[in-house]
């Protein structure tokens, strides 16, 4: 295998790609990390929260150096109807100190930082380079093994023992390798985000935090007729506001994405948070939402798939994670490549350690456990009926209707359930599903 240009070629210098490169390069493999943008992270659109604890082994005390914006110490889940809102708000001061929990970050900075670690470990990072196809061994004995990639540069073919595809949600590499079925719009959501600039002091006051503390607000019921959710995240001097929309509904609803954000921003519960913010960035990105049911074959002959390219994104309502799955799957792909190359077998069989690593860790255990959650969270009942029912119950509980006496909770529940059009049977079934997923 020494006649290859590199031992490992990694496509895409996002978190998955950089962490795969760190593992491979640290083990002494000749590692090439290809990035389509002008620098690692330049292609990124992300307004979310990063949970980097998975980095503990790879970069000890990562929090000392990681370019994060704010440590999330407050998490809110909000239910909105047209003129009501109900929040569940949790604050934990301990999350403002090592080892922390979640953090907001500008991904162009965060990804660049991870890629720098890959370079420090000895990997070669080549930016402005698009992978246009796979090279394969045509001999019958090898079974069409992937032997490298073709790039858009002159004389751009690169051979390698193992190719790791970390090329994101639209992964053309995994598709070309035949690891995906036909993509289906119902498995995806579209995230549309605005970054609004506000002075730090104003953000601190509005969100009730100080220093590097930050807030993560997830919202249901703010996306009109399109199933989805909304979010508000605090960065140091900006806030990220956006919505995540179910593609099939968006296409059918005839409402443009930016109009849905605008409507959410005008809601009386959201407007005071975002008012006066100057638009600095508008962008959009697909999210592989369907979890386990849409994942491709993770291992090919000479090929591994990691991160969003492998649909490793957890969109389970109260847990919205992706970067940690990308980091972990990238690490495991890197480790597997090291192991397979040492054993001299980079066929699908030789790379089987990858599936084992994914399966034994949170990467697939979380997804297996929460396999029903994405569908439940985006169901019409959770999206449209339950917010109305729950805020209705809250309204009745807190309303003082003297001289009438207070109604009992049970009566309120049944009346509001009927008003919102929630059938008891559906409610019991969803409760059961939720309990099985989250319990």
């Amino acid at each position: 295998m020494t006649d290859t240009d590199y031992d490992v070629v990694i496509v895409g210098a996002g978190p998955a790609g950089s962490c795969a490169a760190i593992e491979a390069a640290r083990a002494g493999l000749r590692t090439l990390l290809l990035e389509r943008g002008p620098f690692a992270g330049s292609k990124n659109m992300y307004g979310g929260v990063v949970y980097p604890r998975i980095l503990d082994d790879l970069i000890p005390e990562w929090w000392e150096e990681a370019p994060i914006q704010r440590w999330v110490t407050r998490r809110s889940t909000m239910l909105l109807t047209d003129n009501q809102s109900l929040s569940l708000d949790f604050r934990n001061d301990a999350w403002a100190a090592p080892p922390y929990n979640g953090a907001t970050a500008y991904r162009p900075e965060f990804d660049r930082w991870l890629a720098d670690h890959a370079v420090a470990a000895g990997a070669t990072l080549l930016c402005d380079t698009t992978v246009t196809g796979l090279l394969r061994d045509s001999s019958r004995r090898s079974g069409g093994r992937v032997t490298g990639v073709r790039t858009d540069r002159p004389d751009g073919d690169v051979t390698a023992s193992v190719v790791i595809a970390c090329d994101g949600v639209n992964s053309f590499v995994a598709k070309e390798a035949g690891l995906y079925g036909t993509p289906n719009a119902k498995n995806f959501t579209l995230g549309v985000k605005e970054t609004l600039s506000l002075p730090k002091q104003v953000i601190d006051e509005r969100f009730g935090v100080r220093g590097r503390e930050g807030v993560d607000i997830e919202i249901i019921g703010c996306t009109g007729g399109v199933n989805g959710g909304g979010f508000v995240y605090t960065n140091l001097e900006t806030i990220a506001v956006g919505v995540v929309l179910k593609l099939t509904k968006l296409a059918a609803q005839k409402t443009r994405p930016e109009e849905i954000i605008a409507a959410m921003k005008r809601h009386s519960a959201i407007a005071p948070l975002v008012e006066g913010g100057e638009l600095h960035e508008y962008s959009a990105h697909l999210i592989p939402e369907a979890g386990l049911s849409m994942m491709p074959e993770m291992t090919g002959n000479g090929l591994l798939v990691a991160g969003d390219a492998a649909a490793l994104c957890l969109a389970a309502g109260i847990w919205l994670e992706g970067v940690n799955f990308a980091i972990a799957s990238g690490m495991y792909a890197g480790q597997t490549a090291v192991e397979a190359i040492a054993d001299g077998d980079v066929s699908q069989r030789g790379l089987r350690g990858y599936a084992r690593r994914l399966s034994d860790t949170f990467v697939l255990r979380d997804h297996r456990k929460l396999r029903r959650a994405p569908q439940l969270v985006l169901s019409d009942r959770v999206q449209h009926l339950y917010p109305s029912m729950i805020t209705g119950i809250a309204e009745r509980m807190f309303r003082v209707d003297n001289p009438l006496a207070k109604p009992g909770l049970r009566r309120i529940f049944h009346e509001e359930r009927k008003r919102a059009g929630v059938h008891l049977r559906g409610l019991v079934r969803d409760g059961h599903d939720a309990f099985r997923s989250f319990g």
Binding site: R36, D152, A252, E258
Partner: protein
Amino acid sequence: MTERDPLWPETSFGDRMDTVEFKVSEKPHIVVDGKVCADCSTLACIVACPADLFVPTSDGGILFNYEQCFECGTCYLVCNNEGAISWSYPEGWIRRRLPEHLMIAVCIKWIGDAAVSGVSAADEAAVEMALRHGESSGSSVLAVTVGGPAADRCLRDALACGVKTAVRIDASAEMDSAAVAAALSPVVAHSTAVWCGDYSADRGSGSVPAFLAALLERQQALGVVGVEFIDPLRVTRRLDGGRREVLRVTGPCVLSVEGSVARLRRASLRAAVAAQTADVLPYGRPPASTGSTSGVMSGVVVRPYRPRARVLAAPAGATALDRLRALTDASAAPQPGETVEASPPDAARRIIEVLDDWGYLAE
């Protein structure tokens, strides 16, 4: 969600897309097969594309503009007609501006006096420095001035040269330097570097940059006579007795330059013309809690006009030459100008009507 009265003016789609920079590949990465689209009943791509790049044509096809694509992939996923949209990763790239390295700012002083009117050589040099700084660091440039509507002139000149955004803080330019700096500070607070001229056309004290640096709590390099755009920035200051001082500038800073440091580039004819008719939009000023900004009144944002793609009917004509002529107006008589003699409100109405007719008020 019910429609509410807007609490603030909604951002126009053009302004939204202005926040993203695109380096465009010559080769389209998305190809739309118009024949397939002609039978489409859903037109899902038109609604769903977050960059609004798909436009229906009058003959039932889809017009597509790939240059501002976010590369998200929504279109091919929602397209229900197998194969109508073929999509691959583009060779160009898009860059999102980050607030941290978002902007280089330049402050310009406009003097409207009959005797000394205009902008000083130092301020012009500052604009040029800001543009070069922006080019070398991949940031866009924000130009700010304090003054009345006449001061738009210097902003338009800056826009023509390549400044991305221009803000006029509508206040009297007669304020003292501390008040001018206080007015400027919230607008330039997010910029990494703030460039100023060392003196204005009426030879003021040159103290605004110093006040600005103090208000923003930033380092300052004033009276700069030479700049090298390397990382970190290296600037030369003039000292007494013909000596020089070379400073390395890291982090957020305020710099003022002498007029000798550079000449402002000439804007191209097209850019200059476009800047003269640039859109004037209301400027939402930052919340009052940013410090002593009591001198700030309302301002305006001046941006170059960027029309969205729109559908034109296919030209009529029997021969290719006729159709070409129809498209280019080559044989048509030039549109005659129109002199309106009416009361100012009526004249304004007529002007708006005509602009609307010509398609300049599409958004």
